[in-house]
Symmetry: C2
Subunit: 221 residues, 2 copies
């Protein structure tokens, strides 16, 4: 229980890397915030995971809340433009586009550390109304508009059956979000579900969804 503290084989000489620090700190904070929650995360641990001292963290972020906000703001970047580009460039049926958007999102966001942000937002919503407003405007609603457009076009062209638009959008999203949420909560604890390979899960989701949406079933699957 009381072995002498290991001298940490050459504790790596102090480095000065002003440019890289903020991104390294937000990456570390994202990981710990998602895993443990905001309140239960110690800034000393964030700093250590990023390879600096707690003092250094405060050189780059006013306080814990500012770090949280930075984490969320950073999480938007790698996402929506891609989707908006895809939707503009796409030729072919809306069903294929829908598949591409969902699977693309999974690869670009869901499967990366940023996939933890939905869980984080959900868990901390009541403590950070400002951040929620921001995220809702910049991410949620923007993503919804994207999907709504695809569904609307599909309905207009007769490819999809008519449906309540806003509700249908959320029904496309729900399984995708649950997948990432699960990964960052219960799955992380249990090592659950061999059969829940994300690819198969999303494919089945899309199959089921499209069979429900398509006027002529089988025309795409």
């Amino acid at each position: 229980m009381s072995s002498p503290p290991v001298p940490a084989a050459s504790p790596r000489p102090r480095q000065r890397r002003k440019e890289a620090r903020p991104a390294e700190l937000t990456a570390a904070a994202l990981r710990l915030f998602v895993d443990n929650g905001f309140a239960a995360t110690r800034l000393e641990d964030v700093a250590r995971l990023a390879g600096v001292s707690k003092g250094a963290l405060y050189l780059y972020f006013e306080n814990k809340e500012a770090l949280f906000e930075a984490v969320v703001r950073e999480g938007i970047l790698p996402t929506l433009e891609e989707g908006e580009a895809m939707i503009a460039a796409h030729r072919g049926c809306r069903a294929e586009l829908l598949r591409a958007l969902v699977l693309g999102w999974w690869e670009l966001v869901g499967a990366t550390p940023y996939g933890g942000i939905p869980k984080l937002i959900i868990a901390e919503a009541r403590n950070f109304p400002g951040v929620v407003h921001f995220y809702h405007e910049q991410v949620i609603n923007r993503g919804r508009r994207l999907l709504a457009q695809v569904l609307q076009e599909g309905m207009d062209s007769g490819e999809f059956r008519p449906m309540p638009l806003a509700t249908a959008v959320d029904l496309v999203l729900a399984p995708v979000l649950m997948l990432t949420i699960w990964r960052h909560s219960i799955h992380g604890v249990l090592g659950d579900m061999p059969q829940h390979e994300p690819g198969l899960y999303l494919q089945t989701h899309l199959d089921l969804l499209l069979q429900g949406l398509l006027r002529q079933p089988g025309s795409t699957a």
Copy 2:
């Protein structure tokens, strides 16, 4: 800013109600844990909301973690037996049973304070692996088995198309869970979505799902 503290119109003479306290305390704790998260909830606030002092709370619960565990354990009671009874009693097609189970769950659990527990478990999973194991065994897997049975019977009888069973179960659950999670996080902050009346949302979910599942579309909806 500094009006004299209101004497709290007859501060209600001290009461002794050994029997009722634990349930009142867990009810208060459920509310605050779901709203603010475990770490961000002060036990003094839990006690005040339950109408007792902090000291009294410690007469009934060892510590904060024990209170959390009690909250989750209590949340199972009003649920699964009902579903298992329904499934045993039901005559008629599996599609109707599926509708009844989903809508029944919403009324009995989702729309009540217990509807906050999924969000709570998700948010705190990494900090309470023991509780997650318990919940997974006692609630999640049991609920899944229930739905799997219905889907399997439907497939066997030819009412439903064949599908990967475990995945299909989770696709039934995802929108239902997202509905409760949303209510207790983002919705609570934004007063969001007039059109997201839970009834319509769940009906649309079931319509869409069944159109995908049914071999002869229209035979139920």
